[in-house]
């Protein structure tokens, strides 16, 4: 456990002090403040506007933080060969991967907390309720979705050979993750067996990010914020993370440097 935490701390410090990530956080804060300006145009729908924009900014910047943080890691490991020094130390490869995962999601969490505080302030300034439970729950589940995506990112990093290819795969997974439910719905009645099989494969293998997407369901009256649904999605998220990291460990164990 200590080795895992040592790696997590190292990854977190390295990411958090990186100038590029600091600029991203500043950008993220500006984006949230920008929603204040946009809401002036909104006339009577200001609270909705700042909340919508703020929640979107939180998720997008959390995703970009994940991408940047992992890009820095992968670049250093592959191009600057930092991984060789670690792999000859008395640390299991699985411990290193888990420590890396914890370091990356902690970096994302720090950024997310800063953004959340700013969005709450902006909502309050516009007369809304900054402690709105639905808003806070949707932020929590956005973070959960990013944690699932981070596990996928770690798995992809064990099979990708270059940083650009990894980035492209991850963006693809992000978009596809939101579309799987819709694709399954589209093919359900009319498509051929081959297409249904392909869609089913994508649906089960790619993380179903739409389940964690509560931010566009704030007006939902059907019980999306009920404990039953939330617990089921949380369980799915935890299992997906475990399976992805385990698969990554299997692949990483056989990797040569």
């Amino acid at each position: 456990m200590n080795r895992i935490l040592a790696v997590a701390e190292y990854i977190f410090k390295q990411s958090f002090r990186n100038r590029i990530l600091n600029v991203l956080i500043i950008f993220a804060v500006f984006a949230a403040m920008f929603s204040l300006a946009i809401s002036e145009l909104a006339q009577e729908a200001e609270v909705k506007m700042v909340m919508d924009f703020g929640l979107f900014a939180i998720e997008i910047f959390a995703f970009l933080t994940l991408v940047l943080s992992m890009t820095i890691q992968i670049f250093e490991e592959t191009e600057l060969k930092t991984l060789m020094v670690i792999m000859v130390k008395p640390i299991k490869r699985s411990e290193y991967l888990i420590g890396k995962y914890l370091g990356v999601i902690t970096t994302v969490l720090m950024n997310l907390l800063v953004m959340t505080a700013v969005v709450m302030l902006v909502v309050k300034l516009k007369g809304g309720d900054p402690w709105d439970i639905k808003m806070l729950t949707s932020i929590l589940y956005s973070y959960m979705g990013i944690c699932v995506l981070a596990a996928t990112a770690i798995l992809l990093s064990t099979v990708s050979t270059t940083v650009p290819s990894w980035v492209i795969y991850l963006f693809f997974v992000y978009a596809l993750g939101h579309l799987t439910v819709h694709l399954k719905n589209l093919v359900k009645d009319s498509a051929g067996a081959a297409l249904k099989t392909i869609v089913d494969f994508i649906y089960y293998v790619v993380p179903n990010l739409e389940l964690f997407n509560l931010k566009d369901k704030l007006n939902s009256t059907g019980g999306i914020f009920e404990p039953k649904y939330l617990l089921l999605v949380f369980g799915y998220g935890i299992l997906y993370i475990v399976v992805s990291l385990a698969a990554a460990c299997f692949i990483f164990d056989e990797k040569e440097f």
Binding site: N2, R3, L5, A6, V7, E9, Y10, K13, Q14, R17, N18, R19, E76, L80, K81, T82, M84, V85, I86, M87, V88, K89, P90, I91, K92, T161, E256, F257
Partner: protein, 247 residues
């Protein structure tokens, strides 16, 4: 004398990265080698001879295609063995936004050095590599030579029984050569075994007990330094003779 490194018939063939390309590259072939405990062993060879590949095979970073490899009586896959080795790669890199002390704390955490002695241990190692005044400096503030010394510091942090150094003097100035040489000799005096690659024959002459020449994936010659110097007059003549004799 007990052997800490034993290699029998080790071969490493790299698969082509290109899916359509079926060519294979043989990096090392039928390598037989042993290194005794307490020895300083120098591996010489031209660029592309296979020296780094052999070192990586010994460290478990690469799996041999065939043959047997043993270090400290076991395999580098064993964590207990890895706790007793140190490794300095060629051109070590450390994150520039961390401080020297933080880098050492990271490695100390991996080695499981207890918290109560960690600070003291790090300070003593930084003292040995003459970086104690730079412990709070950021890595980006270090010169190339200092980064090399930081690399050496992380390699000896766990007081390893077996140390692998890949071009330890690469990029150093003459003072750097002397300081690194002194550290190697000090480690030797303490009974450590050192296996290193180098192109700087003058330094190899000053520290090694035995040397090997690797050429075109094969070990062409292994001799004690004394024998090599006796037969050929200088290490350069020995090396050039082996390489040109086989070209």
């Amino acid at each position: 004398m007990e052997n800490v490194i034993e290699v029998k018939g080790a071969t490493k063939v790299y698969k082509a990265l290109d899916f359509w390309n079926k060519e294979r590259t043989t990096a090392i072939e039928n390598v037989d080698l042993f290194v005794a405990k307490g020895e300083v062993f120098g591996l010489l060879g031209l660029n592309g001879a296979g020296k780094t590949t052999l070192m990586k095979v010994l460290l478990g970073l690469l799996k041999p295609t065939s043959g047997e490899v043993s270090i400290l009586g076991g395999s580098a896959d064993d964590i207990a063995i890895r706790a007793r080795i140190g490794y300095l790669p060629e051109l070590p890199y450390f994150p520039k936004y961390l401080k020297v002390r933080e880098v050492m704390e990271y490695f100390a955490g991996i080695f499981g050095i207890p918290g109560n002695i960690r600070k003291q241990k790090i300070e003593s190692i930084l003292e040995i590599v003459k970086l104690s005044k730079k412990s709070e400096a950021g890595v980006k503030e270090l010169s190339k030579g200092m980064q090399g010394r930081l690399g050496l510091a992380q390699a000896i942090l766990n007081d390893p029984d077996l140390l692998f150094l890949d071009e330890p003097m690469s990029g150093l100035d003459p003072l750097g050569y002397k300081e690194t040489r002194d550290i190697i000799l000090d480690l030797k005096k303490r009974g450590k075994t050192i296996f290193f690659n180098s192109h700087i024959l003058s330094e190899v002459e000053k520290v090694c007990d035995r040397v090997a020449v690797m050429h075109a994936s094969h070990i062409k010659s292994v001799e004690t330094l004394a024998e090599a110097l006796k037969k050929h007059g200088s290490l350069e003549k020995y090396f050039v003779g082996i390489v040109e004799g086989n070209s």
